[in-house]
Symmetry: C2
Subunit: 191 residues, 2 copies
């Protein structure tokens, strides 16, 4: 499928308002079927996602959001809770079948936790770019009560919430002015 770097990076914006245009289950599958191919350490693929689409589920989520994030989350057709499976290693016999990668992680909580956090966040980057690739706009957020979201949406599992991202067709009239980025010389060097 053809896309452009303008659509993915240079013209894309974080959206705070969304039109009423719906997001279909087929689009959510298309999004996942792109992002899942992004690389992770030992193919660990720790990200787990709840797509909050129904009004009832949205109300449960709104009760967990910081005040400044409630209205835009209510307006978004779908809100994705991007979680990380802290027991991702249980799936390594399927995901990484050519070595006993599960044994690298079992019983090493610090290594496991950092691997889950780093790689589910990498997958969060793939998620945002993949959403833009299929024509959706994103509104990623960190302002919510993690413990409440975990209790509402991941109870009885080994998944914990990483971040939350509104999805839909953004209303460009409600964008803020774009903030600057660091110049190459401040963020990078070549040795």
């Amino acid at each position: 499928m053809n896309v452009s770097t303008e659509q993915l990076f240079t013209d894309a914006r974080t959206h705070n308002g969304f039109t009423a245009e719906p997001v279909s289950p087929a689009q959510l599958r298309q999004l996942y079927d792109l992002m899942k191919w992004g690389p992770t350490s030992a193919n660990s693929s720790p990200a787990r996602i709840v797509f909050v689409a129904s009004p009832a589920a949205k109300e449960r989520l709104l009760a967990c959001m910081s005040p400044g994030n409630v209205e835009k989350t209510r307006a978004a057709p779908v809100t994705a809770i991007v979680g990380m499976d802290m027991a991702f290693f249980d799936k390594l016999p399927f995901l990484f079948p050519h070595a006993d990668a599960k044994s690298w992680f079992m019983g090493n909580k610090e290594f496991t936790d950092s691997t889950a956090f780093r790689n589910s966040s990498l997958q969060g980057g793939y998620f945002i770019i993949a959403a833009r690739a299929i024509g959706l706009d994103c509104g990623p957020m960190s302002g919510f009560d993690n413990a409440k979201v975990d209790a509402e949406f991941w109870a009885g599992t080994s998944v914990r919430t990483n971040f939350i991202c509104n999805l839909g067709r953004g209303d460009r009239g409600r964008l803020f002015a774009r903030s600057p980025r660091l110049p190459f010389e401040e963020a990078c060097r070549i040795e």
Copy 2:
């Protein structure tokens, strides 16, 4: 610039061998000038990158790599050390000028550390996709001695290494068979 989702996701692979084709400083700038636009929390943009290109710098890096990562890192024309500035909040008056975002982080080490790790990893996802967008192949790695890399490349700074990524033109003849991904039903649900 036109790209395709095949180039970015479905046909792209993690590479273990690279051709001799060089990577120019102009390409590294082009890569950064795409990835920098990806969203981060409060526009915090904590990622910092050393592009290791010279033979002398490469030797210093090779001494820090796990044995299984030495030869492929030697073969790559450029290896990127993707770091995270744990004092990223010092740049928020420039990056997020419309609020006193620096005060949200100062003195809150747990919040600051998790923000740096999550958002530099998100930027790692943007980095990998942006590299593919400009025609480079990636070989991201977690197998290295973090303390040694930090001492060699980030001494005297507040930056710590997140992950390392080889860059170049991949040698598709040296690819392993592709590992599977979790089906939608195992990684996602719609509520």
